[in-house]
Amino acid sequence: MDTKNVAYIRQEMIGPAPAPLSTRSASGWVRTNLLATPKDALLTILAVALLVWTLPGMINWLFIQAAWFGTDRSFCTTAVQGGIQPNGWSGACWAFVGDRFQQFMFGRYPIDERWRPILVAILFIALLVPILMPKMPRKGLNALLLFVGLPIVAFFLLHGNVFGLQKVETPLWGGLMVTLILSFVGIAVSLPVGILLALGRRSTMPVIRILCVTFIEVIRGVPLITVLFMANVMLPLFLPTGWTIDNFLRALVGVAIFASAYMAEVVRGGLQAIPKGQFEGADSLGLSYWQKIRLIIMPQALKLVIPGIVNTFIGLFKDTSLVSIIGMFDLLGIVQLNFTDTTWISPVTPITGLVFAGFIFWLFCFGMSRYSAFMERHLDTGLKR
């Protein structure tokens, strides 16, 4: 049938209609996203009011009024308090942070020896970055260097007393350095131990299962601070008479024990999510128990729980701040120590120091959570419903 000249059939395609106003113009966006209903409009007004009420004050305090440069407390105090600022002044004392920045990073580590932690940090970054990038080859070697090689090198570099390096006792360590060492060791120990504990908890052998369950539940049931106290006061009691154990090592043991119990529960979640067929399939191939776990189960289980593992890392990183209570000077501890320093004592010093420490913690934790989200997308094999 010839349809070419039928009058009621359109000869040309009609042009596309413009997008609806709501997606096109700024006012449309505002109408759909901010003022959709009277309730929404009210909420928007309240939110704007909240922002107007808080934001300018915060920016003013943090940046505009802030004392950026200075050498002592007089730059951050008002005339009444003995400083140079006008009466009624209040602003962040960044001069304090700038002056004490080195201390916040390294604690009381001898100034001439600070190249050692810096070298360790460079090594750490050089090994960490390739392991975080999915496309880089030789992950096994890289992980081995990072989790086994680096700690050994770092210990000798930081502690010294060998190869002509000056000995630096652990009480002198401090600042962000200690925070990072504690969390790195916690992570490096807790992952393997946590995997073993999780396997033990799902074991068919009653003795091993009961031991693992007891350990996990007891540690998870108590606050970290009691575990740290335990490590601090009870570890020396447990050792043979005459042995002493370094304070730093005690905290490390406490943190590692605590993190392992939490990691075990995360890994167990992954193990439980693996269908029984995978275990049976591995068995029917004649794989031994450890081959089955290493080649079939763990790769799948760990992939499933990457968000959980990273969350545990983030929690661990934040929790290391608790060692300041048992008298160690991690980032938070050293910042707090400086509040009482007469050179910088002022009403605004504590809050400035805390904002700074909070920002450092936030950077690390937020970075980790973003990376976890990225890995989750990257490893998503599309099998999820």
Partner: protein, 425 residues
């Protein structure tokens, strides 16, 4: 490819053992008299028998654990003997000799160590209780706000969650304590708030209610109201099941629980006076005072935990399939009814288990009160430990208390969870 041949070898070995076993068993089954099954098994078969291996490994673990445990015990006894510390819980009866700033029960420095630890325990419960209520409230608001269609509200709630989730709770406690609360005025410059409240660096002082003689009728009225509310709710539900007629249960219950005690209060002749706080030059007199340490800990725990609760709530609501609310709309349910009867009950199933662990986390984090000097369990226990040197006993008390709190909560939540769980075929 090194692993492959090795793997193959092992399989072969296993096959051989399997064959041995099978032939041995067959022999025993066909010829009962001649060959015992064990004769067909070599030593290797025993080594590879999972049962025997299991027993061996368990025995090995047990020996190691008992050995390590024994050596720890031995060392501890030796160390304690050397330092001359007597073990046992006798020290709990000794005079504490230290003061506690905030206490729910009578306590002086002449009280015993046991009582000091009890004071600490009650303070832990107090801050956990109020913290949980506030954190849940803020968490619900923020969690629902993050799902809002209003862009500004959603973004603000996201910022809240991302800020508080990524900062140590200890830092937030210090922030409130050192940053905000210590900038409060001296007693003589106290800020006067409405309702007779006074705010200064000693804390928030508020009028203390002093109940008269006839005040006992009020709790009695409340009890009656609660019982009546239960009866009414039950009756209303039964009637709705029978006839389909609805009853304004919620308003009736609220009316009963609020109204009856107020009526009783008025009927008893309003037996209530207030003891107002008065700010002197250096000291406060009268009223009740909430210490800044408590406020710092309570606010920090609430704000921190709320960010986690918000994420829990958001995940729970998003776990309810969209079809559920669409189906409810198709049935003609109002949006509010849909939320109440369809979305929330299903979301609660997802929310309750992680919510429980957040509550437990908050309770455990209350131990950080020690950092600002709020006398909770770890703080009073720590002081006791320093004074008496009874480290093991105090740590065992901590373990016992926190573990029983965790176990009680988990048992209750498991029961609640089972009640809420989806009933399937």
């Amino acid at each position: 490819m090194p692993p492959y041949p090795r793997l193959k070898q092992k399989t072969h070995k296993k096959e051989k053992d399997l064959k041995n076993e099978v032939t041995g068993e067959k022999a025993s089954m066909t010829d009962h008299a001649a060959i015992a099954p064990s004769e067909g098994r070599t030593l290797r078969a025993y080594v590879y028998d999972p049962k025997i291996r299991g027993i061996f490994f368990q025995l090995l673990t047990l020996v190691i654990v008992v050995g390590v445990g024994w050596s720890i015990f031995d060392n501890t006894v030796a160390n304690l003997a050397r330092s001359g510390t007597a073990s046992g819980y006798q020290f709990l009866k000794g005079r504490a000799g230290f003061d506690i700033g905030a206490s729910l029960i009578d306590y002086t420095s002449d009280s015993t160590y046991g009582r000091a630890i009890l004071v600490g325990f009650l303070n832990t419960i107090l801050v956990a209780f109020f913290g949980i209520i506030t954190a849940t409230t803020i968490g619900f608001i923020i969690g629902i706000g993050r799902l809002s269609k209003n862009w500004l509200i959603a973004k603000l709630c996201t910022v809240y969650v991302e800020v508080f989730r990524n900062i140590p709770v200890l830092l937030i406690i210090f922030f409130w304590y050192k940053g905000v609360l210590s900038s409060l005025p001296q007693v003589r410059d106290s800020v006067k708030l409405p309702l007779g409240m006074v705010l200064n660096n000693r804390g928030l002082a508020f009028p203390r209610p002093v109940w008269g003689d006839a005040a006992w009728v009020i709790p009695v009225a409340l009890l009656i109201a609660v019982v009546a509310a239960f009866v009414v709710a039950r009756w209303a539900k039964q009637r709705q099941m029978r006839t389909g007629k609805q009853f304004h249960t919620i308003w009736t219950v609220v009316g009963l629980i609020v109204g009856l005690p107020i009526l009783a209060f008025l009927a008893a002749g309003a037996p209530l006076t207030f003891d107002f706080p008065i700010a002197g030059r250096f000291n406060l007199s009268g009223g009740s005072v909430i210490a800044p340490e408590f406020v710092a800990l309570y606010l920090a725990l609430s704000f921190y935990t709320a960010s986690f609760i918000a994420e829990t709530i958001r995940a729970g609501i998003r776990a309810v399939a969209k079809g559920q609310s669409e189906a409810a709309a198709a049935l003609g349910l109002q949006p509010s009814t849909t939320t109440r009867l369809v979305v929330v009950p299903q979301a609660m199933r997802v929310i309750i288990p992680p919510l429980t662990s957040q509550y437990l986390n908050l309770t455990k984090n209350s131990s950080l009160g020690i950092a600002v000097g709020f006398p909770e369990l770890v703080a009073t226990g720590g002081t006791t430990m320093n004074q008496t040197g009874q480290a093991i006993e105090v740590v065992s008390i901590w373990l016992a208390v926190y573990l029983s709190i965790s176990i009680t909560t988990s048992l209750f939540m498991n029961w609640f969870n089972a009640k809420m769980a989806l009933v399937e075929r």
